[in-house]
């Protein structure tokens, strides 16, 4: 059957095919945009954190009572933890990366208040800090033990002279220049020197666009509630978590262990909404594809049944089985193409709406061609079985009187 007669035949009873085309169009718009979001979120969750997340345990502890000696308690606790077999090292820290809780500040390269500071996250930990998180220095050196002092709240602490920064922060501060050895200024105009640079590291707030800007100061924070970051050997994490908790609990009854969590769990919680969104959208995409495929199968089958007499007649007039299959597949292809064309327009409209009203990142147009191809393949697959059934309508149908 030729293209032109098929078009004019479709035009005469166009409602059905039009509906299918419209459905294909809307499906394409939803699927492509949703898929893009899913990929974005999966990529976000999969970013390299620069840390050995699976082997890190975090403990939140708090002492109570009138004469509780925080410094003493922290020293003893860390020593005790380090002595447990399977523990690589441990440190106390002001905050925990990827926990949703952190400290932010700003740094400048000149001592001028009027210039905007570069925003950054800030951690304070001992010389064991990098190792406790499995962070690798790309250049320079770590803190020396003599640089690390206890930080007691509401006391005067001079700004420690050495700091570590991430490469991202270094780039924001110094651009192309080498940041190693350079000076930076804090909010109070005191200064520190960059002694080491970290390639990549993630901060506390996963949705902050500057969360890879991190500055680390040497120090052992001694607050009311304290955080211990502990790294253990491969595979020992789950076994060691209750052991560490128990040993700490036994060693000092005036200091409670509020909670013990794996860094993996804390991080997962930060990404919970991204994960949820990816899962929900994946379900929506699957349902949509399933529904559209079923509708195409259903409608195609119905058309075959409706046109049994016509098929028989065509066969009687000389159509081979393959001609009938081609006819039905071509009809399906026409409708799908119309749907895809409209779908491209709709996809762009929806993408525009998502970008402007809902501040999502702009759709990568490279998603369109594979999307359309996949749609085309799906539609053809759905229509093939009915087409095959059409081809098996016997020519003798033509002479039957209904």
């Amino acid at each position: 059957m030729g293209f032109r007669p098929m078009m004019s035949s479709l035009m005469r009873s166009k409602t059905g095919p039009l509906l299918v085309a419209l459905q294909i169009a809307v499906t394409l718009a939803i699927v492509i945009n949703s898929l893009y979001i899913v990929v974005q979120r999966v990529e976000k969750i999969g970013r390299d954190s620069g840390m050995d997340i699976n082997n890190v345990i975090v403990l939140y502890v708090r002492g109570f009572g009138n004469d509780f000696d925080v410094v003493d308690s922290i020293t003893n606790d860390i020593d005790l933890i380090k002595s447990i077999p399977g523990v690589v090292t441990a440190t106390v820290s002001n905050h925990v990366p990827l926990s949703g809780s952190g400290s932010g500040t700003g740094l400048r390269i000149v001592a001028d208040e009027t210039i905007d500071a570069v925003p950054t996250g800030r951690y304070r930990w001992s010389e064991d800090g990098l190792d406790a998180l499995g962070i690798k220095l790309s250049r320079g050196r770590n803190f020396l033990p003599e640089e690390v002092n206890f930080i007691i709240p509401d006391t005067d602490i001079p700004t420690p002279p050495s700091i570590l920064v991430t490469q991202d922060l270094a780039d924001d501060l110094f651009g192309e220049e080498d940041a190693l050895g350079k000076t930076v200024y804090w909010g109070d105009m005191s200064m520190s020197t960059i002694v080491g640079i970290i390639g990549t590291m993630h901060g506390s707030w996963v949705n902050w666009d500057k969360f890879e800007n991190i500055v680390i100061q040497p120090g052992k924070p001694a607050n009311t509630t304290n955080k211990y970051i502990v790294r253990v050997e491969d595979g020992m994490r789950d076994a060691l978590m209750p052991i560490i908790e128990q040993k700490l609990g036994e060693s000092n009854r005036r200091r409670i262990v509020k909670s013990v969590r794996s860094l993996e769990e804390l991080a997962a919680r930060q990404y919970q909404s991204d994960r949820g969104m990816a899962i929900i959208l994946s379900i929506v995409i699957s349902l949509l594809i399933g529904l559209t495929a079923l509708v195409i199968v259903g409608l195609s089958s119905f058309h075959v049944t409706q046109r049994t007499k016509q098929i028989g007649t065509r066969r009687a007039l000389g159509a081979r089985r393959i001609d009938i299959i081609k006819q039905f597949m071509l009809e399906n292809w026409l409708v799908t193409t119309a749907g895809a064309a409209l779908g491209i327009v709709l996809t762009v409209v929806v993408a525009y709406w998502l970008e402007t009203s809902l501040e999502l990142p702009r759709l990568d147009w490279r998603y369109l061609p594979p999307g359309i191809l996949a749609l085309w393949v799906l539609s053809s697959l759905a229509a093939f079985e009915p087409a095959r059934r059409a081809a098996s309508v016997p020519p003798a149908v033509a002479t039957r009187s209904v």
Binding site: G318, D323, R400
Partner: protein, 236 residues
């Protein structure tokens, strides 16, 4: 032109075996206008299906236009139907979504003919049946008689060797029936072989020869129904 010998056709269902045709032997020479008559259940439709290569058969041989078509595969039969046979059906079997031009076009498309040649043939065929002026109309806009004439044009467009007509006037009133029969006779006088299945004796009489079927075979009483033309008898 058409030579069937000892054709047997059996329909099998789970419960029942029907012998639609038993030992049927028929012969039609080129240029004849033959009517095939018989009561319902006599096997007329089955005969037509087999003659038109619409169905296969179990036993016997069938030569069409000099070629043995007994054991052709599906594609070969389709090609033969397309090129050698022109069908005219009782209920016209026009495709409702297509206009007259495209309806007549259908068999030509399966022949992969260039557009120019198709157009010429279609226009000529519609001219022959007197409906060229309504080329762009769709079947529902035509009367029954007119629809059947379009079907005839469709059958003719491909220059068939033989026309097979299944109760061509069955759905028409007497005036239209006469028109259609006149058309058929006109076509026959041009040299086309026509085999027409009918239950109407008046129509059968307008043919040159009459083959009467009874219970799946040619009835012995055929000789008495001769009106004119040569007598052809059963081949062994």
């Amino acid at each position: 032109m058409l030579q069937m010998a000892h054709i047997k056709k059996i329909y099998r269902t789970e419960l029942v075996e029907t012998h639609a045709l038993r030992e049927l032997s028929v012969s039609v020479t080129e240029g004849e206008f033959v009517a095939v008559t018989g009561a319902s259940g006599s096997g007329k439709t089955t005969f037509l299906n087999i003659a038109g290569l619409l169905e296969s058969f179990e036993h016997g041989t069938y030569l069409l236009d000099g070629r043995d078509v007994s054991r052709l595969n599906d594609d070969e039969r389709s090609a033969y139907r397309n090129q050698k046979i022109g069908f005219i059906f009782q209920s016209f079997n026009l495709i409702p979504d297509l206009d007259l031009f495209d309806n007549v076009d259908v068999p030509l498309r399966y022949r992969k003919m260039p557009a120019g040649e198709r157009k010429e043939r279609i226009e000529n065929a519609l001219e022959t049946v007197g409906l060229a002026s309504r080329m762009k109309h769709i079947p529902s806009q035509l009367s029954g008689g007119q629809q059947q004439r379009v079907a005839i044009a469709r059958a003719l467009a491909g220059d068939p060797r033989i026309l097979l007509a299944d109760e061509p006037t069955g759905n028409l009133d007497s005036t239209m029936a006469h028109q259609v029969m006149d058309l058929l006779e006109q076509i026959h006088s041009g040299g086309t072989t026509i085999v027409m299945v009918t239950h109407d004796p008046d129509l059968a009489n307008r043919a040159e020869r009459n083959i009467h079927l009874l219970d799946g075979r040619v009835s012995a009483g055929e000789a008495t129904q001769l009106s004119q033309g040569t007598l052809q008898t059963v081949h062994a």
